[in-house]
Amino acid sequence: MPFIPHTDEDITGMLDVIGVDSIDALFDEIPKELRAKELAGVPSGLSEMEVTQLLQARARIDGEPTCFIGAGAYDHHIPAAVWQITTRGEFYSAYTPYQAEASQGTLQVLYEFQSMMTALTGLDVSNASLYDGASALAEAVLMAVRANRKVKTTRVLMPRSVHPFYRRTVRSIVQHQGIDLVEVDFDTETGQTTLAHCETAGDEPFAALVVPQPNVFGVLEDVNALTDWAQSRDALVIGVVNPVALALLSPPGDWGQNGADIACGEGQPLGMPLASGGPYLGFLCCQQAFIRQLPGRIAGKTEDVDGKVGYTLTLQAREQHIRRSKATSNICTNQGLLVTAATVHMAILGAEGLERVAAACLANTDRLAQQLCEVPGVEPIFEAPAFHERALRLPAPTEDVLAALAEQDILGGFDLGREYPELGCALLVCATERRTDAEIAAYREALASTLAIAEAA
């Protein structure tokens, strides 16, 4: 019996102690008519060897394409040590550290993670993670509405330059909380959200402005101006940031005169494999003043009865298992295992390592964009400075071009036109530090021949 240790002798002895004849008798309180007959949709069990062969075949058939897609998930190098440590049984198979004395490993990792995230974002406090960047933004929006004591409104300004999947996730999660998400357009020349666009949201007060940095196009927003503008109108500022980019870019805590109030984002670039989209981790940081509105778990430092330093979950009174329907959020778990990976990743790379990674991504994407734009008909869409993504305009339908590239095992980018029809045939490309010159050249060549064929057709 896979995974079940009971011998016949064990079973007999245990049933004796319970005082029943059979295991089946233990289910005698369940109405007979409800008992399941068979599980038609579930095949018979496989041995570990058989399932290994099956999964190896499944993992193989999708090939090993070269990835130039970013759009919220980035193909970074992950130090080998990161997952060798993270998958140690003591991290992998432990649960939420309810018994702090028996969970100091996990608790200290959470505290160190929080410390690292506050260092990266320049804010005072961090929670111990949420599901992913998009759902973290949803929680940030809810939090901002709760936390803003100056204006009582549920309006939140949401630039269209925020990743469309993030905006949809926010909408799904907050839709029944009466939040009014006001979309703000972007400048089609620069790709930036300007103050002028913000002003179109009207004079009514709003609780918060969301500021993506970089935005979905890779373009850098004028975060200082946006922050000052929103705060001058008594709104909070929620930064949506890429943690690797923060190695080079001004942290939310430094934006404008007073810094952003809240920052959130996707932790995947900090040591998580692409893995089809998850599990990743969302992070959420804020100024000290808002800590009691911060959802999710928080580890805090304390002492034991002998005065030795230790760590424990704290401020649990905000959480659903204590506060139930009055909790700051319904969220129960954090992404402990991914937090562990991110913490080890940041410890190994350090600030300088992250900076090198960021600079390499920037340089590679610059080179990629430059080379692709040498292909006739391909041109950059936006002018403003950008981080490690570039929006390009193609002379043929993006979908067709991507399909043709995929046949050559090149994943050419993210189809922006589907989400932003006003941009026409638009493609978002990214080259992380892992993309080599040869791969970039191969992409250029494949794109040139694909477009040549398209033109000829």
Partner: protein, 487 residues
């Protein structure tokens, strides 16, 4: 010692970053970082040593019996980890085209099918990232259903008083009011109170069955009838699915929506508190509202994603990229190794272990919360008697158990049973582990009687003694900061 405290300015012994810093002179000054973030500066060895040693300070399934009620801490098969980590799976970008995704989509599609079969539901979405998100998706679908019918007055969600805190919290997130339904003294929902509670305002009821008090609610059919007749829907909290896997199906009990906690029933890693995965299953009438994306198989045998365009009535997207794929893969692998026969064994042996442990503790003189009931895969003892007699409380017992090498059961939950321990041994523990636990409980009770201070000051054998939670909350310190002027 924190990793930060081992940091030295300029230390960098890593091969992990690019060997040189590429030019980034074009970045506008105003948008640049002025000062490097105060991340630790340590060597690879220091990081490896630090986190290896930290890990050793954890209890975990791989090292300890961990009978944490309601959390289903069972063995996480190592094959699930290594196969979900095959390079082909790890390297796939979430926006990769279907042409390069057939392998993983086949796994996801089969997982949807297996979960449908084992829950008796009509359709399944794998999108929610965790149990609580599955709950939210579930109640949002209930709301979407009523709203689509123009039934806008149904704004009340019934929740038993024994429920997980996530239930009322999720209901609130979906815009419902919460109304508590009491639990009867036999552990079943108080059906009379329920009948009083239902009405035209009832959107539905959120139930776990077996419930968090560790018993199977025998009146489930009456409950379903009552709620359905009032026009409400039944929501099944899958937290305790391990207890009935393959034996009873929520769909057959009359539930309209279910979420599953894959890190419980399908043994994906608990990971120190996550990640989870919280697929939802629904009856036919709720199918249009399932969160996206979903995987479907075309006539050409190829797999396709269903997204917003295909499912316009969907409650939408729960995370940016559609779910915790790495966790779903692990659950898929586990399910394939179990097979139909293995799934049934899960609930059988989880129930056998719980009932055996319950009987042994009862025979040893511990008081069961529901002594006349069968245990499901978990059960409750109350230490009220011991607390009164020896002035030693449940938390003291819990901390002392750590000294004996057992992770404590869940304490003080459910809230309605005083001084309670909710004990869930799971099916993967051998009889010897259960016997050892009983022996330790007996010893601790004897200590409580003869030497209560030892119990009240436990633990004694761990790297730290009892931690001061109050201090943590009062003197908040939630992040290390560099000394002024250094970073």
């Amino acid at each position: 010692m924190l990793i930060h405290e081992q940091s030295r300015p300029g230390r960098r012994a890593t091969a992990q970053a690019p060997l040189e810093t590429a030019d980034h002179g074009d970045l506008p000054q105003a948008l640049r970082r002025k000062q490097r973030a105060a991340l630790p500066e340590v060597s690879e060895l220091q990081a490896v040593r630090h986190y290896t040693r930290l890990s050793q300070q954890n209890f975990s399934i791989d090292t300890h019996f961990y009978p944490l009620g309601s959390c289903t801490m069972k063995y996480n098969p190592r094959a699930c980890n290594s196969l979900a980590s095959l390079p082909g799976f790890l390297a796939r970008h979430p926006a990769a085209p279907e042409s390069h995704s057939q392998g993983i989509m086949a796994c996801l599609h089969e997982l949807q099918d297996m979960l449908k079969s084992v829950t008796g539901m009509h359709a399944v979405s794998l999108a929610p990232a965790a149990g609580a998100q599955g709950e939210l998706a579930g109640v949002m679908m209930i709301r979407a259903y009523h709203d689509a019918r123009g039934d806008h007055e149904r704004r009340e969600m019934l929740v038993p008083d024994a429920a997980h805190g996530t239930n009322p919290a999720s209901a609130i997130m979906a815009g419902f009011k919460v109304r508590e339904v009491p639990t009867g003294s036999n552990g079943d929902v108080d059906i009379a109170a329920l009948r009083d509670a239902v009405g035209p305002q009832t959107a539905g009821i959120m139930l776990t069955n077996p419930s968090t008090v560790g018993v199977f609610d025998r009146s489930i059919q009456a409950i379903a009838k009552s709620v359905h007749e009032a026009g409400g829907l039944l929501y099944y909290d899958g937290a305790n699915l391990n207890a009935i896997l393959g034996k009873v199906r929520p769909g057959d009990m009359g539930f309209d929506v279910i979420h599953m906690n894959l890190h419980k029933t399908f043994s994906t890693p608990h990971g120190g508190g996550g990640p989870g995965a919280g697929p939802v299953g629904v009856s036919k009438r709720l199918e249009p509202y399932l969160p996206i994306p979903l995987v479907t198989q075309g006539d050409d045998e190829r797999y396709h994603w269903l997204d917003e365009d295909d499912r316009p009535e969907s409650i939408g997207r729960m995370t940016a990229f559609g779910g915790n794929m790495g966790i779903l893969l692990r659950a898929y692998i586990y399910a394939r190794m179990l097979g139909a026969e293995g799934m049934r064994r899960v609930s059988e042996f989880a129930t056998l272990n719980a009932n055996y442990l319950q009987a042994r503790l009862r025979d040893a003189g511990f008081q069961l919360a529901y002594p006349e009931r069968r245990a499901s895969h978990e059960f409750i003892i109350t230490l009220k008697k011991e607390a009164k007699a020896f002035d030693v409380n449940t938390m003291d017992f819990a901390k002392r158990l750590l000294d004996y090498g057992y992770h404590a059961p869940t304490t003080y939950f459910p809230l309605l049973v005083p001084e309670c321990l909710l004990i869930e041994p799971t099916e993967t523990e051998p009889k010897e582990a259960l016997d050892g636990f009983v022996e330790s409980m007996n010893k601790i009770r004897a200590e409580a009687e003869n030497d209560p201070e030892t119990v009240k000051q436990a633990p004694h054998s761990l790297p730290l003694r009892r931690l001061d939670d109050v201090r943590a909350a009062r003197q908040l310190d939630v992040a290390w900061k560099p000394a002024e002027g250094t970073a």
